[in-house]
C-alpha cells in the first residue's frame, strides 16, 4: 500500500466489496482515497493513498464552515477535504479539492487498510474527543494503526505533571492544522502542525508575529502598532554565548521569570513540532534561544528547551530550527550546544523522546560525527576505548552511542572479541560531512554557569 499509484500500473483490486466510485457526494470523514500529491496539477499526476480527516466548505477557510457528513450530500457548494497521506508525515497533510482526487478509483472505508486488522469497529481512541457534537467532531476517524502499548490519558498526564514536554498520544482535533500562515520577521511560513493559539485566530488567513517578543496579532496594522511600542531587540534573557563569525548568540531564558515570552515561544514552536505538548505551564523549563545578530537585532533562528531538574537525565526537551532557517546546520549547532552545556554540568544527557524524524536524522549525524572524531583521535594514539569512555568524553548517553555505532556498522566481532571497526566508506562520509559543517560551537565562547535551583523553586514541577 505504500506504492505510488500512477496510471500505468494495473487497476487496484477492490479491497472490500462495499467500495464504490468517488463523487463529491460520497466522500466522508475517515474514508481513504487516492490524491494527487502535486500541488500545481501540472505534468503527470502522482496519486497517493490518503485518508480524509475532515471536510469543509471551499473558499471559506473558516472552521465554522466545516460540514458534517449528513450535509455532504448537498451539491450547492464545493468542498475541501483535509487529507493525510498514508505513511507520510503529518506535516504534509493538506486541504485538497475534488479535482486532485482520483475519481476513477473506488472509495475505501477506513478499515480497508490491510495493516488495520481490528475489524469494522475503529480501535478505541485513547483520548476522548472533547468536541462531541460540535461540527469539528472527527471522532469517526480511525486513527492509524497503533499497536504499541499506549499510555492511558491519565497515565500520560501524571507523567507530564512530573517532567517532560513531549507527548505520544494526541487527540483527534490536533490532527488538523489550525493556522493557515504566519508572518515572522522577514518570512511568511506555513505551519506544519496544530498549535493552541487562541481559537479566534484559526479564522485568520495569517497570524502576524513580532520577531522579538513573539506576540501574535490577527492584523498587520496591529503588528505595526506593536512594533512601535516594543523595545525588545533580543530574547528577554541573558546572553551566554556569542560568536562574531558567524554572528550568532545564545540566550538563556527562564520559563518561570519570562512566562509571557516562553509561552509565546512554545506556541510558535508547536506549529512545527508534532509531539510537543503545551498541557502544562512553562515554569520548569529553561529555554536556550539561538539568534542571528544583524543591524536590526537578534533574530530567533531556533531554540531548545531543557528541564531545570530532569529526573531521567534529559539534557534537552524540545528542539526546533524555524523552517526558514533549516538546512543550514543550525539544528546541529543547537544539539552541539546542548551537549556543551552538559559538559559544563558534568552530566551525561540524552534528548527527551519521542524524537521526530528530522530530530533523529540531526541527532544521528551529530552523534556519528562526534564519535568518529573521538575515535580518530584515539586511533592515532593507538588506544583502546570503551563505550563508557566515549560517553564520559562526549556526554552522549551510552545507548545513543551504541545506536550510532550500530548504524555505522562499526561494532564487529573479530577473533572472538568485539571491536570498533570503521570502514573506508564511513571515514570518507565523515570527511564529507565535516566539510559541510559551516558553523560549530566553540566552547571558549560559552560563558555559563549552570543555574542552581532550590528544592522550593523546583516545587511547581511536581
Amino acid at each position: 500500500m505504500s506504492e505510488l499509484y500512477s496510471p500505468a500500473t494495473p487497476p487496484y483490486t477492490l479491497p472490500t466489496p462495499t467500495s464504490t466510485f468517488i463523487t463529491s457526494n460520497n466522500i466522508y470523514v475517515g474514508c481513504q482515497l487516492y490524491v494527487d500529491i502535486k500541488k500545481d496539477g501540472q505534468g503527470e499526476r502522482e496519486y497517493r493513498k490518503a485518508q480524509v480527516l475532515t471536510i469543509r466548505e471551499a473558499n471559506r477557510s473558516s472552521r465554522n464552515n466545516i460540514v458534517s457528513n449528513d450535509e455532504n450530500n448537498n451539491d450547492d457548494f464545493q468542498c475541501e477535504y483535509y487529507v493525510h497521506y498514508l505513511e507520510y508525515n503529518k506535516r504534509l497533510d493538506e486541504w485538497v479539492t475534488i479535482d486532485r482526487i482520483d475519481c476513477s478509483r473506488q472509495i475505501e472505508p477506513p478499515n480497508a487498510t490491510p495493516s488495520v486488522s481490528n475489524g469494522a469497529t475503529p480501535p478505541p481512541c485513547t483520548m476522548a474527543s472533547p468536541y462531541l457534537g460540535s461540527p469539528l467532531s472527527i471522532g469517526s476517524v480511525t486513527p492509524s494503526p497503533s499497536p504499541a502499548p499506549h499510555l492511558t490519558r491519565e497515565q500520560e498526564l501524571e507523567k507530564l505533571r512530573h517532567h517532560g514536554a513531549m507527548t505520544n498520544s494526541q487527540s483527534n482535533i490536533v490532527k488538523v492544522k489550525n493556522i493557515e500562515k504566519i508572518q515572522i520577521g522577514r518570512y511568511i511560513v506555513s505551519p506544519w502542525y496544530f498549535s493552541p493559539y487562541p481559537e479566534e485566530f484559526c479564522d485568520e488567513p495569517m497570524i502576524y508575529i513580532c520577531e522579538y517578543c513573539l506576540s501574535y496579532f490577527a492584523k498587520e496594522r496591529q503588528l505595526r502598532r506593536h512594533l512601535k511600542k516594543c523595545k525588545l531587540l533580543h530574547p528577554p534573557g541573558n546572553e551566554i554565548y556569542r560568536d562574531y563569525d558567524p554572528n550568532i548568540s545564545f540566550f538563556e531564558v527562564d520559563g518561570h521569570h519570562q512566562k509571557t515570552y516562553c509561552r509565546n515561544l512554545c506556541l510558535l514552536s508547536k506549529l512545527f513540532l508534532d509531539h510537543k505538548t503545551l498541557y502544562y505551564d512553562v515554569d520548569p523549563f529553561l529555554f536556550y534561544i539561538l539568534c542571528v545578530r544583524d543591524k536590526k537585532g537578534c533574530h530567533i533562528v531556533g531554540h531548545f528547551s531543557k528541564e531545570k531538574d530532569s529526573q531521567e537525565g534529559h539534557n534537552l526537551a524540545c528542539i526546533l530550527t524555524l523552517p526558514q532557517y533549516q538546512r543550514q546546520g543550525y539544528g546541529r549547532l543547537l544539539i552541539s550546544f546542548s551537549y556543551e552545556l552538559s559538559k559544563v554540568e558534568g552530566k551525561i544527557g540524552t534528548p527527551e523522546k519521542p524524537l521526530s524524524d528530522l530530530g533523529l536524522l540531526s541527532y544521528r549525524s551529530y552523534w556519528s560525527e562526534t564519535i568518529i572524531d573521538l575515535l580518530l583521535e584515539m586511533h592515532s594514539n593507538k588506544e583502546e576505548i570503551s563505550i563508557h569512555d566515549i560517553s564520559e568524553t562526549t556526554k552522549i548517553d551510552p545507548k545513543d552511542i551504541l545506536q550510532t555505532l550500530q548504524s555505522l556498522g562499526a561494532l564487529k566481532p573479530y577473533r572472538a572479541q568485539q571491536i570498533i571497526f570503521l570502514s573506508d566508506s564511513v571515514l570518507a562520509a565523515h570527511k564529507r560531512a565535516k566539510k559541510k559543517n559551516l558553523v560549530s560551537i566553540d566552547e571558549a565562547l560559552l560563558h555559563w554557569t549552570p543555574p542552581r535551583f532550590t528544592q522550593s523553586q523546583l516545587k511547581y514541577a511536581y
Binding site: 504499541a148 520577531e211 533580543h234 509571557t260 523552517p323 572479541q417
Partner: protein, 474 residues
C-alpha cells in the same frame, strides 16, 4: 552450542550485549584484511530503539533518508535524501518598512536582561482596526476636553480586558462582566488619570464583548478549561501544575527534630571552640607582651649595669662559675662513663675468650616490660649521692620509691607506688632491714628492680650501647 570462547580463530561469533566498561580495540578497514571472514558470520544484533514513535518510524521519507545514510556509509558514495517539508517560505517585501525603526549594535559585554518583558513591550493590548475606527468617530463628535488619545484608549481597554478576564477565567458569560463602577474603581496608581474617561469607553467595550458572546477583545490563550467537559480541549494549554503537598508523618517530624538538635549541638560546639580560640589568642598575646617587657627590662638593666660597671651577674647573665662547675661535673662523669665502658668491654672480651657463643648474642639485653617504663623514679634527697657514686646493686637499694599514675575506670587517677614499704622499714629499724631486704628481695623479678632504678644515665644503658647486635641495629 559447543563454542569455546577462548578459541581465537573461531569464525562464528555470537553477538552479545556489549559491556560498556570494557575497552574495545579500534581498527580501520585498511588494517584488517580478514575482517570479512568474521563479519559474514555475524548474526544481526537486535536494532536499538531510535526514539522515534513506532508509527512515524515507518514513514516513507524517514526510511528513505535512513537507508540513504546507510548506503553512504556502506559504499562511501555521496547519497543524500532529505525529508520533504511544506515549502511556503517567502521573503517579505515590506520587511524593511515594518522593522525600519529597529537598530541594533552589539554591546561590548554580553547582554544581561532580567526585567519583565512587559516593561519593554509597552501596553500589552494593541488597538484593532475596529478600535481605531471607533476612536475616530468618537473624537469627531465629542467635546475637546473629552477627546481620547489612541494610547489612552489602549490602556483603558487593556485594564478593562484584564479585569474582565480575571473575573471570567476563560469562561464566556456576559452576565458576569463587571459593571462600570467596578471597573472605575480599579483605575488607580499610574492609570488613575484615566479614570475619568473610562465611562466613555465602557459602553463600546461592553458592546464588543457582547458581540463576542463574552469573549475577549484580544484573544487570549485558554489556561484553564471553562468547564469539566473541556478538560481535554487542546486549546487549553499552560495549565498550572498543582503542588503535591509533602506528606508529614511522625517519623519525618522526629527526624527533623533530631536534625535540628544535632545542628544546635554542633553550632554550640563550634561557638565553644571559637571562644576558646579567642581566649588562647588573648593569653598568647599577654604572654608575648610580658616577654617583650621582660626583654626590655633586662636590656635596660644590662645597660644600666654596663654604665655603672656592675658585675655581669646583676646584669642578668648566667653565672659563669656555676656553668664551669657543671661542665666539670659532666666531663668527669663522661670520663667515668668511658672508664666503665672500657671496663665492661674488657669484661666482655674476657668472657668471650672462655665461652663459645652459642646464641646470637649473649649480651642481648632484656627488654623492658612496657608498664615499667611508665614508672618514674623518686629520689629522697639524702640518697642522691648514693645513686651516682656507689656501685649499682639492685638488691641493695630497695628503698628507692617509684611511682606511676594511671587513669582507671570512670576517670579516677590512680597512683601506683613501688619500694615504699622497704623504705619505710629501713628507716624504722636497722635490725629489721635484713629481713626486710630478704622479704622484698624476691618480691619482684630481678630485672624488674634493676629496671625500676635505672635511668638513662646508669651504666646499664651504656652497656647496651656496646652490644654488637644492638649496635648494628642502630
Amino acid at each position: 552450542m559447543q563454542q569455546q570462547p577462548t578459541f581465537p580463530n573461531r569464525k562464528s561469533f555470537r553477538s552479545r550485549k556489549i559491556d560498556n566498561k570494557k575497552p574495545l580495540k579500534l581498527y580501520w578497514e585498511r588494517e584488517l584484511d580478514d575482517i570479512d571472514d568474521y563479519s559474514t558470520q555475524i548474526r544481526s544484533a537486535p536494532p536499538i530503539e531510535t526514539g522515534v514513535e513506532k508509527e512515524e518510524e515507518e514513514e516513507v521519507h524517514l526510511q528513505e533518508a535512513l537507508t540513504a545514510k546507510e548506503e553512504a556509509f556502506k559504499t562511501g558514495k555521496k547519497v543524500e535524501k532529505s525529508i520533504p517539508v511544506p515549502e511556503a517560505i517567502t521573503d517579505l517585501a515590506e520587511y524593511e518598512d515594518l522593522y525600519k525603526e529597529k537598530n541594533w549594535e552589539d554591546p561590548k559585554a554580553f547582554v544581561k536582561f532580567s526585567e519583565d518583558i512587559e516593561s519593554s513591550t509597552g501596553c500589552p493590548y494593541t488597538l484593532t482596526d475596529d478600535d481605531l475606527d471607533w476612536i475616530e468617530s468618537y473624537n469627531n463628535k465629542i467635546a475637546e476636553k473629552d477627546k481620547l488619545e489612541e494610547d489612552e484608549l489602549e490602556w483603558i481597554l487593556y485594564q478593562l480586558e484584564l479585569i474582565a478576564n480575571r473575573r471570567l477565567r476563560c469562561k464566556k458569560d456576559i452576565r458576569i462582566l463587571p459593571n462600570l463602577q467596578d471597573m472605575e474603581r480599579t483605575f488607580t496608581d499610574s492609570i488613575a488619570s484615566l479614570r475619568r474617561k473610562v465611562r466613555f469607553v465602557y459602553p463600546y467595550w461592553k458592546e464588543c464583548r457582547v458581540k463576542r458572546n463574552g469573549g475577549a477583545m484580544a484573544p487570549i490563550v485558554m489556561t484553564e478549561p471553562a468547564n469539566s467537559q473541556e478538560e481535554d480541549n487542546p486549546y487549553v494549554c499552560f495549565r498550572r501544575r498543582e503542588l503535591k503537598p509533602i506528606r508529614k508523618t511522625r517519623r519525618t517530624d522526629a527526624k527533623s527534630l533530631e536534625k535540628c538538635d544535632q545542628l544546635h549541638l554542633n553550632l554550640c560546639k563550634a561557638t565553644n571552640v571559637l571562644q576558646n580560640c579567642q581566649k588562647f589568642e588573648k593569653r598568647k598575646f599577654a604572654f608575648i607582651t610580658n616577654e617583650r617587657d621582660k626583654f626590655a627590662t633586662k636590656a635596660t638593666v644590662k645597660e644600666m649595669g654596663r654604665d655603672l660597671g656592675v658585675d655581669d651577674q646583676i646584669a642578668g647573665k648566667p653565672p659563669k662559675k656555676k656553668q664551669r662547675k657543671l661542665s666539670q661535673a659532666s666531663s668527669s662523669e663522661k670520663v667515668r662513663k668511658t672508664q666503665q665502658q672500657s671496663a665492661a668491654q674488657s669484661q666482655i672480651q674476657e668472657t668471650r675468650s672462655y665461652w663459645v657463643d652459642a646464641t646470637d648474642d649473649i649480651f642481648e639485653p632484656y627488654k623492658k616490660q612496657q608498664p615499667i617504663e611508665y614508672y618514674s623514679v623518686f629520689y629522697p634527697s639524702d640518697e642522691e649521692s648514693v645513686s651516682s657514686d656507689e656501685e649499682f646493686i639492685p638488691s641493695e637499694l630497695p628503698r628507692r620509691i617509684a611511682f606511676r599514675t594511671r587513669i582507671g575506670r570512670g576517670g579516677r587517677i590512680l597512683t601506683d607506688r613501688r619500694g615504699f614499704g622497704s623504705h619505710h622499714n629501713n628507716h624504722s629499724s636497722k635490725d629489721n632491714s635484713k629481713t626486710g631486704k630478704s622479704r622484698y628481695k624476691f618480691k619482684y623479678d630481678d630485672f624488674d628492680e634493676s629496671e625500676i632504678f635505672s635511668d638513662e644515665d646508669t651504666n646499664y644503658s651504656d652497656m647496651m650501647q656496646i652490644d654488637d647486635n644492638d649496635y648494628k641495629e642502630r
